[in-house]
């Protein structure tokens, strides 16, 4: 096994000895993502969210766990399927939904839509729509963190398809050369749009092994199991934050709904209903709930309270998005350039 995790010291803080409140916070984050995405799916056919939208249903575990392990000064960048990453990093729900609705109160004032999310206040530096586009950008953020001598890290979210982009190798290579504090989080959901992994990458070759060969500290894990995801990510973040190595994790998971849009698409022929059902049996939320019930951390009442709180928050946020005004059409012609001089030029002139 090439993965370097066995040689790495396990973090002292294991998931098992985290307290109940923490474990419930992970559940709440997962539920929140699921409920937001399901509400988008439900309302999407109304035709008010008029942009390509990629849902993360089925993939809630990885973002929810990593969200609890980062600080606000850590940075993150993501992909076209970014709702879960944005929310888990602390991104503003109302601003995200308003953006999907194309409203002035959206996080990009309606200029980006679902695939372009940003919340600088919480270190979510941006998601973009071109596969692999934010990979080097995340590495550059990590370069700036290292040059500043800060203890922060940058998380780059990517999928299995992005591993096929040349820019991944370019950026990963540089991150290794410079030992940058970057963590690549690869959610392998087996599909790039409708193209299965087996026609895109040789069978038997693991993505985490490619990363390891490049020189990244690399691990893999089951991205539908909270405890395992927590173990893998905690180790990776420790290695990264201590400046030992740029790190990579491959976490296996599955996209429930169509690549882009609100529907299920198991009937159109690129994957089987049986495959979907097998993964649905491994619903990360149900698996985790069962575990928490067994450990007597969760009971039906606690769950109901949690769901009711989330429902209220989510309905409020949709209400906000739907009732916010569109930006006036003249705003399409807002400046493409920032104004001013990016230095204290007065000081230069006087000096």
């Amino acid at each position: 096994m090439k993965n370097s995790s066995p040689e790495t010291q396990e973090s002292a803080v294991t998931f098992e000895n985290m307290n109940g409140a923490y474990k419930l916070s992970v559940l709440k984050s997962m539920l929140r993502i699921r409920m937001v995405e399901e509400e988008i799916a439900k309302r999407y056919p109304q035709g008010k969210m008029r942009c390509p939208t990629h849902l993360s249903v089925g993939q809630e575990c990885v973002p929810a766990v990593i969200g609890t392990l980062l600080s606000e000064s850590d940075l993150a960048v993501s992909t076209h399927r970014a709702h879960a990453h944005y929310l888990a990093k602390g991104g503003d729900l109302k601003a995200m939904l308003a953006e999907i609705y194309g409203k002035q109160s959206g996080c990009c004032k309606g200029r980006g839509g679902s695939m372009h999310l940003i919340d600088e206040k919480v270190g979510f530096k941006g998601s973009t729509a071109i596969v692999g586009n934010t990979i080097p950008i995340g590495v550059g953020l990590a370069l700036s963190q290292k040059l500043r001598g800060k203890n922060d890290i940058t998380v780059v979210f990517l999928g299995d398809g992005a591993i096929e982009e040349g820019v991944f190798y370019e950026a990963a290579n540089f991150a290794v050369v410079k030992k940058l504090p970057v963590l690549f989080v690869c959610e392998n959901n087996l599909y790039s749009v409708y193209s299965p992994l087996k026609v895109r990458q040789p069978q038997g070759r693991k993505i985490c092994d490619i990363a390891s060969t490049i020189g990244l500290h690399s691990q893999e894990g089951d991205g539908n199991i909270v405890a395992e995801t927590h173990r893998v990510l905690t180790t990776a973040i420790d290695v990264c934050r201590q400046g030992q190595s740029a790190t990579f994790v491959e976490l296996h998971t599955y996209r429930w709904r169509e690549h882009c849009g609100p529907h299920y698409d198991n009937d159109i022929g690129y994957r089987s209903e049986a495959e979907f059902l097998a993964w649905k049996e491994r619903d990360p939320i149900e698996l985790y709930k069962t575990q928490l019930y067994k450990a007597k951390i969760l009971d039906a009442e606690k769950l109901q309270v949690m769901i009711r709180q989330l429902e209220t928050e989510i309905q409020d946020a949709f209400q906000f998005a739907e009732t916010s005004p569109y930006p006036p059409s003249e705003q399409a012609y807002s400046p493409v350039f920032a104004q001013g001089v990016n230095i204290n030029i007065a000081e230069v002139a006087n000096g």
């Binding site: 973009t128 950008i137 700036s144 040059l147 940058t154 290579n173 493409v336 990016n342």
Partner: protein
């Protein structure tokens, strides 16, 4: 502030030193920035003065390394990326077009990308199809990019400083045939602005709007045109995005004739934009159809033989200007132009290899 004579390349180098000294967040990187040749001398002394963290060589990864610069810029660094040939930078179009150019507008105007990308373009000495492309029009076509093309040593310094401290992504295009050109360059800090052209020679009969190396040819042509009674005004555009329309339009209003000079291929060129705009906005002021001189719509071949008449120069400008001004003494004018012995070098001192 005294004036000294510096080459264009030395002026670039001086601007880099000043910028890095002034602002610790300015970085300089690119393939070969610390190698023995120091990018034609333009990065000389930088690593010694500012250290290996701020001045660094890079893997041969044009797209990834541009993205890395963009990421650093998104966290308030001011990277200056360098490529010895524009053509290699074509591998970085995703990061340039989909990230750097879009970020400010797309994310609602909350975060811009203060990166400067120095690209060298050129011609001659058999550079051939993939080492000589002048693609300024590509970059100028993308909303969100500034495109700078200095022609003089003083502007190379002033415009590079302005580019580095501009909050937006700037593509800074240096013509290899200008690197050796000398000019007076004020010492010390130099304030300049992007988007402002300069009138290098005033005239009343025809406006020559030139960019980059074509400014040199335009000035040569203007001198000769004077001898046949044509008073040519020469505008050095300096930046091709944004274009300083006010300066161009004021000049055309005076002369009624415009000839746009480009170092790139003719079709969809910067010169095409100038001709189109003058026809749209100043039609009734024009005494003759606006015209342009640019590269033929062919890849630049390598052979000394094939390139003999490939690049339009002062001779083409003189001929065209005489026609536009209805002056028939074209032969007389051309005879007074000095023609270099070899068409493929900026001067006899140039012995290659690139």
């Amino acid at each position: 502030m005294g004036e000294r004579s510096l080459t264009f390349a030395q002026a670039i180098n001086e601007a880099m030193h000043l910028a890095m000294e002034k602002d610790p967040e300015v970085l300089c990187y690119g393939l070969g920035v610390d190698d023995p040749k120091r990018i034609f001398g333009t990065t000389k002394g930088l690593q010694e003065a500012f250290g290996e963290e701020r001045v660094f060589d890079m893997p041969t990864s044009e797209n990834g390394m541009l993205g890395i610069g963009i990421g650093a810029a998104l966290n308030d660094m001011k990277p200056v990326m360098v490529h010895q040939r524009l053509d290699f930078f074509l591998l970085a179009m995703d990061q340039l077009v989909n990230a750097a150019a879009k970020w400010f507008y797309m994310f609602g105007g909350q975060r811009s990308v203060p990166i400067t990308i120095r690209l060298m373009l050129g011609r001659g000495w058999g550079q051939g199809p993939t080492h000589s492309q002048n693609l300024q029009a590509w970059f100028a076509h993308i909303p969100g990019l500034k495109v700078v093309m200095p022609a003089t040593a003083a502007d190379a310094k002033g415009l590079l400083l302005a580019s580095i401290f501009d909050p937006n992504p700037v593509v800074f295009l240096e013509h290899r045939w200008l690197h050796h050109q000398e000019g007076n360059v004020p010492a010390g800090w130099q304030d300049d602005v992007l988007g402002k052209a300069k009138v290098l020679r005033t005239g009343t009969d025809i406006t020559l709007v030139a960019i980059s190396y074509q400014v040199v040819e335009a000035l040569r042509a203007a001198e000769v045109l004077q001898s046949v009674g044509i008073s040519a005004e020469v505008i050095d555009l300096r930046t091709v995005q944004p274009i300083d329309w006010a300066t161009i339009e004021a000049s055309i209003a005076k002369t009624g004739r415009v000839l746009a000079l480009d170092t790139g291929a003719l079709t969809c060129s910067v010169s095409a934009e100038i001709v189109a705009r003058s026809a749209e906005k100043q039609f009734s002021l024009l005494k003759t159809a606006p015209a342009r001189i640019a590269m033929p719509d062919f890849p630049e071949p390598t052979s000394y033989g094939l390139t003999k008449s490939f690049h339009p120069d002062a001779r083409n400008i003189v001929t065209q200007a005489c026609k536009m001004c209805c002056v028939t003494e074209i032969e007389k004018a051309l005879n007074s132009l000095t023609v270099p012995e070899h068409h493929d070098v900026p001067g006899e001192w140039f012995k290659g290899p690139f």
